[in-house]
Amino acid sequence: MIGRDLLGIEDLDREDIVRILDTAEHMVEIGEREVKKVPTLRGRTVVNLFFEASTRTRASFEIAGKRLSADVINFTPSASSLKKSESILDTARTLDAMDPDAVVVRHSVAGVPRRIADVLGAPVINAGDGAHEHPTQALLDALTVRQQKGRVEGLTVTIIGDILHSRVARSNIYAFRKLGAEVRLAAPPPMIPAGVECLGVKAYTSLREALDGADVVMALRIQNERLGGAYVPSIREYSATFGLDRAKLDFAKDDVIVMHPGPVNRGVELSHDLADHRPSVILDQVRNGVALRMAVLYLFAGRATTPGSREVAGGAG
């Protein structure tokens, strides 16, 4: 049963995930209409509380909210007044006094959405916290795979890149495992987190082995500061060993699809032609992002209107 907040895929069960994906399928149709707007959340306020800049995810949530007729307010503490010494819970309490119907939180440190949810009356939707989770990204990835392959169960999904610092990786591991896929990781050893097998995955240092028979290949974005001596010796070395191109893709299944959470460092994680053409489905991911976030706002926003009403709201639907 879907709870009050969407903090991570780890908290969801398979049925929750399927319900969100099913709802998103219907939201896709709204995006294809001439009038791409429904009155569902009219009079409701969705706050985008982004402590960490993210144009793309914020825009995706903003469009999703607006297509559901919610008023979407962007609240960016880092750009306004938040110093490092300001209590995040103070910020949350201030926001709560404004009585929002949902708060979408992004922060560079893991756990912040969780702690904000503890003091906030409104449902909290995690839009990415540190290297912890990015649940809407994983859900839109699962939706994309389901659309492309017709199923998720039984597929082999290979995630390549900086697993250690990736919230996308963690959320996708949970999501695809819960939906019955096999998940493999491939990365230079410093980018594989300690004890990652506890998540039900197998880590490879050989890209070729990790790709063998894969149905879905997901390349993660490499942060520039992690290149050039920090975790791998250089961009060139990373690109040569773990960058995807058509030749390396030969190890995967013939009908493999290639995904990337964006933005792509062209020529690093993916070769130029892979970034733009089949089997890459990156633009489908972006399109699905709006529909998936509409589904999430529909299922979570406005359900709890008073602090502490978590249990009551959790029983709805």
């Binding site: 709204i30 569902t40 709805a316």
Partner: protein, 221 residues
């Protein structure tokens, strides 16, 4: 707005869909004693009569557009399309319009019903749209369907077809074509469902008594 819609004789509106509108399904409420209202013969006879009435009243039958309110409206609209083809030789498009996101009770109840497919095969601009629903009660679903419809263009007119009109209207909405007017109690449920196992083509309408816990449901037909 057409004259049919602007005319608001009291008590002539249409009804409400509950979220668990289960439409043509078998077995729902098997614990309860179902009182038959319409059997498949009654339904087919009503739909044929309605098809004739539609043709009689239409200036341009080529311009009709059937839009089903799921789930119960879907088989009825399909049957109506077949009847219209038989009666007047017209090929009327059938669309399906989910009204869930247009409901007016989502916030107050906090419920989040599952969405259903919307499929509009062609533009509605300039068409006379026939909204088709199985059971009409409060009129709120028809209101939602009209709002949804307007997001798909500007029909020349909108008319409402209901197989069963239970009364209990809460909005000034009337049916243009009705299969049967049935006085019911508020707590009862009127349901279109499969008449027999393994035969989804044969439909029936039954009246189910109020559920034991009246607070459990979130609206009944």
């Amino acid at each position: 707005m057409t004259s049919q819609q602007s005319a608001r004789p009291p008590g002539s509106g249409t009804g409400e869909k509950a979220s668990e509108r289960s439409a043509p399904d078998a077995g729902g409420g098997s614990q309860q004693v179902a009182r038959p209202l319409l059997d498949s013969t009654d339904i087919n006879r009503s739909l044929m009569r309605i098809a004739h009435e539609i043709i009689e009243r239409s200036e341009d039958p080529e311009n009709l557009y059937l839009v089903a309110v799921p789930n119960g409206g879907i088989p009825l609209a399909r049957q109506l399309a077949a009847n219209l083809a038989q009666v007047a030789g017209v090929d009327v498009p059938v669309g399906v319009l989910d009204t869930t996101l247009y409901r007016d009770d989502l916030i107050s109840t906090g419920s989040r019903p599952a969405l259903r497919t919307t499929e509009m095969p062609s533009a509605v601009d300039g068409c006379v749209v026939l909204l088709v629903d199985d059971v009409v009660k409060t009129g709120r679903t028809i209101r939602a369907a009209m709002d949804a419809l307007m997001d798909f263009g500007r029909p020349r007119a909108v008319q409402v077809v209901g197989l069963v009109d239970r009364g209990h209207r809460e909005l000034p909405i009337k049916l243009d074509y009705v299969g049967k007017n049935v006085p019911t109690q508020v707590g009862e449920e009127v349901r279109l469902r499969s008449a027999g196992e393994g035969d989804s083509e044969r439909l029936e309408v039954v009246v189910l008594p109020p559920p034991p816990d009246p607070g459990a449901g979130e609206g009944s037909k």
